[in-house]
């Protein structure tokens, strides 16, 4: 349900973009969405590092926190250099709301139940974000340098998705 809402919000841009290019997200909006998406995964990772005792989960979460923080720092430096101010938008809001709900839901779980739910969500979350990056955000980005950073982000997050799938397989 939550995931559907986020997907719908993300795809709304894409759908509108087909008919009217003016409705595609702008660079300030894309920057906000990408930054929000990264920050969400950092917060999720911090929760996992705090709650989990499983070595695979902690290693994965530590990597997520480091990689996403690195991309976001770079994104922030780039938008500052370009004079772009990230702009809040319905997609960012839907992402944040869904993430807050997920965080609360996972907070109630412990031990293996938490690990399994966390890693399953990481697989789904990276798949959603990667879908949005490749179908809407990257094609819509105007600034070449910014587009390049988003592409590197997609390569990185695709790695994360595969990594998450490998860890998730151990919890089946």
């Amino acid at each position: 349900m939550i995931r559907t809402t986020v997907l719908a919000a993300l795809l709304a841009f894409g759908m509108a973009g087909v008919g009217a290019a003016a409705d595609a997200p702008t660079d300030p909006q894309i920057a906000h969405i990408a930054y929000t998406a990264g920050q969400i995964d950092v917060v999720a990772a911090e929760q996992a590092i705090k709650k989990s005792t499983n070595a695979d989960i902690i290693a994965f979460a530590t990597l997520m926190a480091a990689d996403h923080k690195a991309v976001n720092d770079q994104a922030l430096a780039l938008v500052t250099k370009l004079g772009v101010t990230p702009e809040d938008n319905p997609t960012s809001q839907a992402l944040s709301q869904a993430a807050a709900d997920k965080l609360a839901e996972l907070d109630k779980l412990d031990g293996a139940a938490f690990d399994k739910a966390y890693i399953a969500n990481e697989v789904a979350y990276h798949a959603t974000v990667n879908g949005a990056l490749s179908s809407v955000l990257i094609p819509s980005a105007q600034n070449a340098e910014f587009k390049e950073l988003l592409k590197t982000g997609l390569t990185l997050f695709t790695e994360h998705q595969h990594h998450a799938e490998m860890v998730a397989a151990k919890f089946q």
Binding site: A66, A70, E148, T152, L156, E159, H162
Partner: protein, 108 residues
């Protein structure tokens, strides 16, 4: 064949053998990591040469041999020197992002 020519030929052969036996000068080669990819690996790599792993990314990577013969940690923006020892074909990957792969071919 005159004795002189024979002598000259022998000289060339001896010189050639001596050259082949001499160890090649150890060389340095840089492998650049950028945008989540290992760049081109040196075409000709010999035991004793040095590979410089240069991580230009903002992410921590590693250069890790499949056979575990090396495992180089590469924090963001660092470079690490590694002398290649073993002869053969060594597949490597990044243990943090295993989709990043490459192969070192090391001649004697």
């Amino acid at each position: 064949m005159t004795a002189l020519i024979k002598l000259a030929l022998t000289g060339v052969l001896v010189a050639g053998t001596a050259l082949a036996a001499m160890p090649a000068f150890a060389a340095d080669y840089t492998i650049v990591i950028d945008k989540m990819k290992f760049g081109p690996v040196p075409a000709e790599l010999h035991a004793g040469d040095t590979v410089i792993w240069q991580n230009n990314d903002i992410f921590r990577h590693s250069a890790t041999a499949r056979d575990k013969s090396f495992d180089v940690d590469l924090p963001a923006g660092t470079e690490v020197r590694m002398v290649v020892g073993a002869v053969g074909s060594l597949d490597f990957f990044c243990k943090f992002h295993p989709g990043m792969t490459g192969t070192l071919v090391i001649a004697p």
